[in-house]
């Protein structure tokens, strides 16, 4: 039996026009995109590459100039599609004069939840995004990171089969980014399809199974992350820390195989180093 495709876009283009209908910017050109259940796909590209335009076309906020978009085999306008969709826009997601809790109850009621089901679901998503402590504060007083968490929380409320996330970690600190990335992986493992757009390379690399690189609306590269990043001409071996004389012996041993072979100390990524330092400080604080 064929696996249902959560999202399928074929030959999608978006040509913006001015007030008089004259073409201005070709924001997206002949985009092909498929997202299956349990898959995390990344749209990667610099600012102005067409990522947000693509996401907005997928949720029917913008209409494609050419091509077709099907979500769960239906038009994005179909109410049945909307019910299975979670969307985190690039902008904020709340009313400044409502509290975070009121905001989530509002979104939940619009999704058909009420009573104890709504209360329980709101509590769950607040925990998932780490916003329980700030739930009684007004959204207008939220930091950018808290607003992002609130946006994620509302996107998760309806337990969507397809999540469209526009810059999900924008404004989050490294701890928040780590949590969100882990959350996305958990959702995918549970069967949700996720499409995220970002200009943060590490974010896409860490969580995505496949990616598309967009530039000025055109797809420059696409495929599985591992395939795209693999370098067939090179090989990296990771060894325990060696004394300098042992490293020199190792290099001498492999140099006859290839003159370009080198050794260098293993360098940690700054994000991993930062998280380790903060975690250690947290552990010390608890001990104290």
């Amino acid at each position: 039996m064929a696996v249902e495709r959560c999202l399928e876009a074929t030959g999608v283009s978006k040509q913006y026009t001015d007030f008089w209908g004259r073409p201005t910017v070709l924001a997206v050109e002949a985009l092909d995109l498929v997202v299956a259940p349990g898959e995390v796909v990344g749209l990667l590209g610099p600012n102005g590459s067409g990522k947000s335009t693509t996401v907005k076309m997928l949720v029917d906020l913008l209409r494609p100039s050419r091509g077709s978009i099907r979500l769960f085999g239906r038009s994005p306008r179909d109410p049945l599609v909307k019910a299975r969709l979670g969307y985190l826009p690039e902008e904020s997601c709340g009313y400044p004069y409502l509290t975070g809790l009121e905001t989530l109850h509002f979104y939940g009621r619009l999704q058909g939840l009420d009573g104890s089901r709504l209360t329980a679901r709101v509590a769950t998503v607040l925990d998932e995004v780490g916003l329980r402590a700030g739930r009684e504060r007004r959204v207008g007083q939220y930091s950018k990171g808290m607003q992002r968490r609130l946006g994620l929380a509302q996107a998760l409320l309806g337990q969507p089969a397809l999540l469209l996330l526009d810059e999900p970690t924008s404004g989050l600190d490294p701890l928040g980014r780590r949590d969100v990335k882990a959350l996305i992986r958990r959702l995918a493992a549970a069967g949700s399809a996720v499409l995220l757009s970002s200009h943060l390379l590490a974010e896409v690399e860490d969580v995505c199974d496949r990616l598309l690189i967009l530039h000025r609306g055109r797809t420059l590269a696409s495929g599985a992350v591992g395939d795209l990043l693999r370098q067939p001409q090179g090989l990296r071996a990771t060894l325990p820390q060696l004394a300098p004389e042992r490293a020199a012996e190792l290099l001498a041993a492999i140099r006859p195989l290839d003159e370009a072979a080198t050794t260098e100390p293993l360098i940690s990524r700054l994000e991993a180093y930062f998280l380790a330092v903060v975690a250690a400080a947290g552990a010390e604080g608890r001990d104290a």
Partner: protein, 312 residues
């Protein structure tokens, strides 16, 4: 049917709550209530016309401040929501565009309810303050200002506790001023002979504030969809001015036909009727129907125009 209306109700409640909590709403309401308390105390230098002038000036005050409230409310709940992305989020995943627009109009209608109550109370209160052409009913004036001050203090205390000043003020005046109106009956009348304490003939005029404001909401809604606050309010003021002068400016069959297309506020102006002994409830009913029909027509046009609008 009821299930289909549920999203509209949710959007309406959120819109009204959001608008009530906006600081500008509190400032505007306080300003209107302050002026409504001051106008009957002004010396109009007119013999036997004070009551009519007070009634007219209060009528103008509430018409304009209600329209300002609805204009600002539209900018707040529609314009800001469009620009912040909340509208896009809602229509992408949860609502039809028609439900969202209907909810916004209903939210603005809810926003206006406390204004309507405040207008009714102050209009009656003003009639008591201006009951005598040569004197002011100071006990009634002192009670009004004391209650307004108490409402401000309560709202400030609530704001200090982390709640919204504007929403608290709205709740406080909605509770305190009607109670004060009831208490007015217990106050001494002063030296002049009795007569009516409150001029209930003003209620038909007050009843007509609401359809005028609703019409204002139906005008402000499409403007807020395409513009910022200042252009919205300016364009709304132009439409208001055209509507107020439609009968004078547009004569002849062609002119009258064009006049029908404008939101015409003139059927609601019943000041002259009031001078002749009060507007009849039949007139109020007809004006309400006309107002609702115009509001529905404008809303329908807005829905049709916005159905294919892109939300980039």
């Amino acid at each position: 049917m009821l299930a289909a209306l549920r999203p509209v109700r949710e959007v309406a409640l959120a819109a009204a709550r959001s608008a009530w909590r906006a600081p500008v709403h509190g400032v505007l309401l306080l300003l209107a209530l302050g002026l409504a308390g001051l106008l009957p105390l002004a010396d109009y230098l007119s013999f036997l016309e004070k009551r009519r002038l007070v009634a007219d000036s209060l009528q103008a005050l509430w018409l304009l401040s209600g329209l300002a409230a609805v204009g600002l409310g539209a900018c707040r709940t529609v314009g800001d929501e469009l620009r912040s992305g909340v509208c896009g989020l809602l229509v992408a995943t949860r609502l039809s565009r028609t439900s969202w627009l209907s909810g916004k109009l209903a939210g603005l209608a809810l926003l206006l309810l406390p204004w309507w109550l405040a207008a009714a109370v102050t209009q009656l209160w003003g009639s008591r303050l201006a009951f005598d052409d040569y004197r002011v009913d100071w006990p009634a004036a002192r009670l009004y200002w004391a209650l307004l001050l108490l409402a401000v203090l309560l709202a400030t205390w609530r704001a200090w506790r982390g709640h919204s000043f504007a929403a608290s003020l709205t709740a406080a005046v909605s509770l305190l001023l009607p109670l004060g109106l009831l208490a007015l009956g217990l106050l001494p009348r002063g030296a002049w002979s009795g007569g009516q304490l409150l001029d209930w003939r003003q209620l038909p005029a007050v009843a007509l504030y609401y359809p005028q404001w609703l019409l204002g909401a139906a005008v402000a809604l499409p403007l807020a969809l395409v513009g910022d606050a200042v252009p919205t309010l300016l364009a709304g003021a132009v439409v208001l001015a055209l509507g107020l002068t439609a009968d004078a400016l547009l004569s002849g069959p062609v002119g009258r036909s064009i006049g029908w297309l404008l939101p015409n506020w003139q059927p609601f102006q019943v000041g002259d009727q009031w001078v002749r002994g009060g507007a009849s409830w039949g007139l109020v009913q007809r004006a309400w129907l006309a107002g609702l029909a115009q509001t529905a027509a404008l809303w329908q046009l807005t829905v049709a125009a916005w159905a294919e609008h892109e939300l980039g």
